[in-house]
C-alpha cells in the first residue's frame, strides 16, 4: 500500500460516513421521490460499528449525524443524538449480531432505522410540535433496508482492500 493509502486507510470509515451523508442529501429530480430516500448513513454506521468498532465510535456517529442536522435544517443535534444512541445499541448487541447470518441483519437494520426515525419523531415533536410526513418516515425505513445489501457489498469491498481485519472487532 502506498504512503497516502496507509495514511488515509484509518480515516476511510469516517470518510465513507460523510460520503453517505453527501449522497443521501442530494437533490432528487422529483420531490415525490424523497419517499424512497434511504438513510445511507445508518447503513454505513451499522456496518463499520459492527465490523470495525475501533474506527467508528460515538464520535464519528455524532459528527456525521450533526452534518445531517445542519444540511437538513432541522433541530441541531436531533440526528446526532439518535445516531449516537444507535451506535450504543449496536455495540451492546455487536457480538450477537456478528454471529447472525447476513440475511437476518436486514430486518434488524430496518428495525434500527425505525427506531432512529421514532427517536427523531419524539425529539421533533418535543421541540417544534407535531408535524410528520408518514410516507417519508416509512418510505425511508423500507428504502434503507432494501438498499442495504448493495451498500454493505461496497463497504465490504472497501474493507477488504484498504483495511485489514481488526483483532478488536470481536470485543
Amino acid at each position: 500500500m502506498t504512503l497516502a493509502g496507509t495514511l488515509l486507510a484509518p480515516w476511510l470509515p469516517f470518510l465513507s460516513l460523510l460520503l453517505a451523508v453527501a449522497v443521501q442529501e442530494v437533490a432528487l429530480p422529483y420531490e415525490a421521490w424523497s419517499v424512497w430516500r434511504p438513510d445511507l448513513l445508518l447503513v454505513a454506521l451499522f456496518y463499520w460499528r459492527l465490523y470495525r468498532p475501533d474506527r467508528c465510535g460515538p464520535g464519528s456517529a455524532f459528527s456525521a449525524g450533526l452534518t445531517v442536522d445542519v444540511l437538513s435544517g432541522g433541530p441541531l443535534g436531533m440526528n446526532a443524538l439518535s445516531k449516537t444512541l444507535i451506535t450504543l445499541l449496536i455495540r451492546r448487541f455487536g457480538r450477537r449480531l456478528r454471529a447472525t447470518d447476513a440475511i437476518f441483519l436486514l430486518p434488524i437494520l430496518a428495525l434500527l432505522s425505525m427506531l432512529d426515525q421514532f427517536i427523531q419523531l419524539g425529539l421533533s415533536t418535543l421541540l417544534q410540535g407535531w408535524g410528520v410526513r408518514w410516507p417519508l418516515l416509512f418510505g425511508r425505513i423500507a428504502a434503507t433496508a432494501l438498499i442495504a445489501p448493495l451498500i454493505v457489498a461496497l463497504l465490504i469491498h472497501i474493507h477488504r482492500i484498504w483495511l485489514g481485519e481488526t483483532p478488536r472487532a470481536g470485543r
Binding site: 460523510l18 460520503l19 451523508v21 453527501a22 449522497v23 442529501e25 442530494v26 437533490a27 432528487l28 422529483y30 420531490e31 415525490a32 424523497s34 430516500r37 465510535g57 460515538p58 464520535g59 456517529a61 455524532f62 449525524g65 450533526l66 452534518t67 445531517v68 445542519v70 444540511l71 437538513s72 435544517g73 432541522g74 433541530p75 441541531l76 443535534g77 436531533m78 446526532a80 443524538l81 449516537t84 444512541l85 451506535t87 450504543l88 455495540r91 426515525q117 427523531q120 419523531l121 425529539l123 421533533s124 421541540l127 417544534q128 410540535g129 408535524g131 410528520v132 410526513r133 408518514w134 417519508l136 418516515l137 425511508r140
Partner: protein
C-alpha cells in the same frame, strides 16, 4: 496509577458515548441555533458538503447540461423571432410602467412614505434537498460570494419558495414555505386581510390569525404583506384551499396550498436588496432598465401570448 485515571481507562467507551449524548442534548435544548458562531459553522458545513455533492453529481450535471443545450439550440431560433415580435409590442407598455413608477415615487415623496428598496436577483440551482419526515430545506449553489445573506427571500416565477437560513461561501440553505419552522406574513390580495402562513412539513400550509368574520374565501390569492421585514410586499405565496368557520376562539382555521411546485423546482431566484438607495431628488427620474425584473412584484405578466 490514579484511581480516576484507571476508571477513565476502564470505562473509556461509555464515557465517550455519554459525553457525545450530553453534547447532543446541549445542542438540542440549550444552544441558540441562530447565533453568529452557529451561522458560520452551518455555512462551513454547507460549503464542504455542497462541494462533495457537486463533485459527485458532476457527471450527471454534465450529461444533463449537454442534453438541455442540444434541445435548447433547436428552439432558440424560433424563440428569438417570437421574442423580437413581443419586444416591439411591449414598447408602449414599458413606457406606461415607467410613467407609473415615476408617479409612484413622486407621490410617495409628497406623502413622505419610505420608498421601497429595489432588488437585484441572483439565480441559483437547487443542488441538495434535505427533505425528511421532519423538515423541508433546499441547498442552493449561491452563497456569500453572490452577496446572499441570512433571510434573503427565495422566489420562483410562480411565487415565494422560502428564505435563506444559512450561508456558506458558495452554498446556502433555503427554508421552504412547507417547513414546520417557516412563517410568512401574508394578506389576501382581494380584501387585504392579513394573516400568517405557517408550514406543516407537508403539501398544505396553515393560515393562522385569520379573524372570524374576515373577508376571505376559498380560492383567494395570498400575497406577502411586507411586514416582518424579510419578504417585500406583493409576491404570490399561496391559494386558500379550505376554511373552517366553526371553531372556538377569535380566529378561524384555514388551509392554503403553495403556488410553487417544489416537486419540479430546479432553479430559484434569490432577492438581494440594493442597499445604497439614493434619495430621489426633484429632478430625478425613476427608470426601468432591461435588467429590472418586475414579474415577482406582479407588475408584468410571465409571458405574453405570441402574436
Amino acid at each position: 496509577m490514579l484511581p480516576l485515571w484507571s476508571f477513565i481507562r476502564l470505562h473509556r467507551q461509555r464515557l465517550t458515548a455519554a459525553t457525545f449524548l450530553l453534547l447532543a442534548v446541549f445542542l438540542l435544548f440549550v444552544l441558540r441555533a441562530d447565533s453568529p458562531g452557529m451561522q458560520t459553522f452551518k455555512g462551513s458545513v454547507a460549503n464542504l458538503m455542497g462541494g462533495v455533492q457537486r463533485l459527485l453529481l458532476s457527471p450527471v450535471e454534465a450529461t444533463r447540461a449537454a442534453n438541455q443545450r442540444l434541445q435548447e439550440l433547436g428552439r432558440l431560433d424560433e424563440e428569438n423571432r417570437r421574442l423580437k415580435r413581443q419586444v416591439s409590442n411591449l414598447g408602449p407598455m414599458r413606457l406606461q410602467l415607467d410613467e407609473t413608477l415615476k408617479e409612484n415615487r413622486r407621490l410617495r415623496q409628497i406623502l413622505r412614505m419610505p420608498v421601497e428598496p429595489s432588488y437585484t436577483y441572483t439565480v441559483a440551482r437547487v443542488v441538495g434537498d434535505s427533505s425528511s419526515a421532519f423538515s423541508r430545506v433546499l441547498l442552493v449553489n449561491a452563497g456569500a460570494e453572490e452577496k446572499v445573506r441570512p433571510d434573503t427571500p427565495a422566489v420562483s416565477p410562480a411565487g415565494v419558495v422560502g428564505r435563506v437560513v444559512a450561508v456558506g461561501t458558495r452554498r446556502s440553505t433555503v427554508l421552504t414555505l412547507q417547513d414546520i419552522n417557516s412563517r410568512v406574513p401574508v394578506q389576501v390580495q382581494r380584501s387585504r386581510l392579513r394573516a400568517v402562513v405557517a408550514g406543516r412539513n407537508d403539501q398544505t400550509l396553515d393560515l393562522r390569525f385569520v379573524v372570524k368574520g374576515g373577508d376571505i374565501h376559498v380560492g383567494d390569492l395570498l400575497i406577502t404583506s411586507g411586514t416582518g421585514g424579510v419578504f417585500p410586499r406583493g409576491i404570490g405565496v399561496a391559494r386558500v384551499t379550505a376554511l373552517n368557520l366553526n371553531v372556538d376562539g377569535l380566529f378561524i382555521q384555514a388551509k392554503a396550498r403553495s403556488l410553487v411546485d417544489l416537486d419540479r423546482l430546479e432553479e430559484l431566484r434569490l432577492m438581494l436588496p440594493v442597499v445604497e438607495t439614493v434619495p430621489l431628488r426633484e429632478r430625478d427620474e425613476a427608470t426601468i432598465t432591461d435588467s429590472t425584473d418586475l414579474r415577482p412584484l406582479g407588475l408584468m405578466p410571465e409571458a405574453s401570448p405570441s402574436p
